[in-house]
C-alpha cells in the first residue's frame, strides 16, 4: 500500500484504496474464523447469505426493489454487528461470483459489510429494535450514505484523474439519485419485513436453540 503510494506515480490511489479495504475487512474474517461457532449457526448464516443473493431474482418483477440490503440489515439486527458485516460483505462477494468480479467488488463488500455492522451496532439487542419506523429510517439512511458513498468512491477513483474536492463532489452528486432510490426502497422494505423476519428468527431460536450465545 505504501509502496504503491510512494514509489509509483501519483494517481494509483485505486490500488492503495483496495489494499486499505482488504486490510480493514480481514479482522472481521479472523474474528469469524476464531469464534467457536455451532454448525447450525454456520448453516443459518449461509442460508441468509443465499437468500440475500437470490432474493433479487424473486423480487425481480418489481422494478428498482433490491431486498439484499434490507435482508442484510435484518440479519445484523438479529445476530449482531460482526455477523452483519460478514453477511453483507460475503453476499456482495457471492453475487459477484455470478455476475463476474469487477473493480467494484472490494468497495461493495466493504460498503455492504459496514451497513450490516452499523445497523447491528445500533439495534442488536436494544429495546427499540422492534420499532419499525426507527429501523426503516436508520436502515435507509445508512444504506444511502454508507453503501452509496463507498461504492461511488470506486467510480471516483476509476473515472477521475484529478483528486480534488470539486471533482469528488461531481461524481457523488451524479450517483446521488440512484443511491437515494436504493436507500428509500430499503427503508420501505425494512418497514415491512422487520417484524415478520424477527418473528421467524425468534421461532428458530426457540425451536432449535441457535444463536443463543449472543
Amino acid at each position: 500500500m505504501f509502496l504503491s503510494l510512494n514509489i509509483f506515480q501519483e494517481g494509483n490511489y485505486y490500488i492503495a484504496a483496495v489494499s486499505i479495504i482488504i486490510l480493514s475487512i480481514i479482522p472481521f474474517y479472523i474474528f469469524f474464523e476464531q469464534r467457536k461457532i455451532k454448525t447450525s449457526e454456520i448453516v443459518t448464516l449461509s442460508v441468509m447469505i443465499a437468500l440475500c443473493v437470490a432474493s433479487r431474482a424473486v423480487m425481480a418483477y418489481i422494478p428498482q426493489v433490491k431486498p439484499t440490503c434490507a435482508l442484510v440489515i435484518v440479519t445484523a439486527i438479529a445476530f449482531g454487528p460482526n455477523v452483519g458485516f460478514f453477511t453483507g460483505s460475503l453476499s456482495m462477494f457471492i453475487s459477484n461470483l455470478f455476475f463476474g468480479q469487477g473493480m467494484f467488488t472490494p468497495f461493495q463488500m466493504l460498503g455492504m459489510g459496514l451497513v450490516g455492522f452499523i445497523c447491528g451496532l445500533i439495534f442488536h439487542k436494544k429495546p427499540y429494535a422492534n420499532n419499525k419506523i426507527a429501523v426503516s429510517i436508520v436502515g435507509g439512511i445508512t444504506c444511502f450514505l454508507v453503501y452509496g458513498l463507498i461504492v461511488d468512491s470506486c467510480s471516483f477513483l476509476m473515472m477521475s484523474t484529478e483528486f480534488t474536492f470539486k471533482s469528488a463532489i461531481k461524481i457523488y452528486l451524479s450517483g446521488m439519485s440512484f443511491n437515494l432510490i436504493h436507500g428509500i426502497t430499503t427503508g420501505i422494505l425494512l418497514f415491512f419485513i422487520n417484524k415478520p423476519m424477527t418473528d421467524k428468527f425468534n421461532r428458530l431460536r426457540i425451536k432449535y436453540g441457535i444463536f443463543s450465545m449472543e
Partner: protein, 291 residues
C-alpha cells in the same frame, strides 16, 4: 480435462493475474502501458472470441475516448496550453495525455479482469481461499449450493400459488407486491428450516471433528512452478523498471527514453504477459496434431 492456461494450478494462475492487474493499474511508462494493454486484449480475444471483440468495441473504446475527452475539459494542470476554452479555462496537452494514460490503465485492468473471470472459476477461488479461512470457504460453498435450491423452491412456491389461484394478474400492481412479499416470506421460512435440517445431517456425519481433509483435484507440477516463477520474476522486473523509468505527466510531460536495458526488460515483461496465450496455442496445436 481442461486444456491450456485453464489447467494451470490456481496458485500460479492467481499470481499471474495479480501481477498483470497491478502492472496495468500502476504502470506509468507508455511502453509498459502499451504492453499490458495489447497483451491483455490479445488474451481476452483468445479466450472469449467474439464476445471480447464486442466488449472492446462497445465498452473499452468509448470509455477511453470519454475519459480522455473529459479529463481534457475538466482538468487544467500542465504548462502546454493548446487553446482557451469558451469558459476561459486552458485546454492543456498534459491533461489530455494524462487522461489517455489513465484510461488505458483502467482499460487494460478491465481486460485482464475479463480473462481472470474466465480462468479463475468459482471452484478455484474457493480452493485458493479455503486454506486461509476454512469456515469462510465452507460458508461460500454452502451458499453456492443454497442459491439454486432457493431458486427452484421459489418456482415451486409460485406453482403452488398458481394452483391455489393466488397468482396476481398483469395489471394488478398491489397484488404483485403482495404476492412477491408472500413468496419471499414462505421462501425464507422454508430455507431456514431446510438449513437446520442440513446442519443436523452434517453433524450426524461428523462435521466439526478433528482431522478433516478437503478434496481437490489440483496438483502442482513443473509447468505450474514455471508459471509461478515467471510471474514473480516479471513482478521484480516491473518493480525495477516502473520505479527507474517513472514517467510524469504533471505539470510537464517527462518520459525517460528507454535504453537497451529497459527495452530488454520490457520485452521480458511482454513475453511473460503473452505466456498464457502462447501456452494455449501450443496446447491446441498438440491437440490437433494428436487428432
Amino acid at each position: 480435462m481442461q486444456l491450456g492456461f485453464k489447467s494451470v494450478h490456481p496458485i500460479s494462475a492467481f499470481a499471474f493475474f495479480v501481477f498483470a492487474f497491478v502492472l496495468s493499474m500502476t504502470a506509468s511508462h507508455p511502453l509498459l502501458l502499451a504492453v499490458s494493454f495489447i497483451t491483455g486484449l490479445i488474451y481476452d480475444i483468445k479466450l472469449s472470441g467474439k464476445k471480447a471483440v464486442s466488449f472492446f468495441l462497445k465498452i473499452i473504446m468509448p470509455m477511453i475516448c470519454l475519459i480522455t475527452f473529459f479529463n481534457g475539459i475538466f482538468s487544467h494542470y500542465g504548462v502546454t496550453v493548446l487553446f482557451k476554452m469558451p469558459s476561459g479555462n486552458n485546454f492543456t496537452l498534459e491533461a489530455l495525455v494524462f487522461g489517455f494514460v489513465f484510461s488505458i490503465r483502467t482499460a487494460s485492468a478491465l481486460l485482464w479482469l475479463n480473462s481472470f473471470n474466465e480462468i479463475i472459476t468459482n471452484d478455484k477461488f474457493i480452493f485458493l481461499f479455503g486454506r486461509i479461512s476454512p469456515k469462510t470457504a465452507l460458508v461460500i460453498s454452502m451458499v453456492l449450493r443454497f442459491i439454486p435450491l432457493v431458486r427452484s423452491q421459489s418456482e415451486e412456491i409460485k406453482k403452488a400459488e398458481k394452483g391455489v389461484g393466488n397468482l396476481p394478474t398483469e395489471k394488478d400492481f398491489i397484488g404483485k407486491i403482495r404476492h412477491g412479499a408472500r413468496r419471499l416470506s414462505v421462501l425464507i421460512s422454508w430455507t431456514l428450516e431446510k438449513g437446520i435440517d442440513s446442519s443436523d445431517s452434517m453433524k450426524a456425519r461428523g462435521y466439526g471433528l478433528h482431522g478433516r481433509t478437503s478434496f481437490n483435484s489440483y496438483s502442482f507440477s513443473v509447468k505450474d512452478a514455471l508459471f509461478l516463477l515467471f510471474s514473480l520474476i516479471a513482478s521484480g522486473i516491473f518493480f525495477f523498471v516502473g520505479t527507474k523509468y517513472k514517467s510524469n505527466y504533471n505539470p510537464v510531460i517527462d518520459i525517460p527514453m528507454p535504453d537497451i536495458l529497459a527495452t530488454l526488460l520490457i520485452t521480458v515483461i511482454a513475453f511473460v504477459l503473452l505466456l498464457p496465450t502462447l501456452y494455449d496455442l501450443r496446447e491446441e496445436r498438440k491437440w490437433s496434431i494428436s487428432k
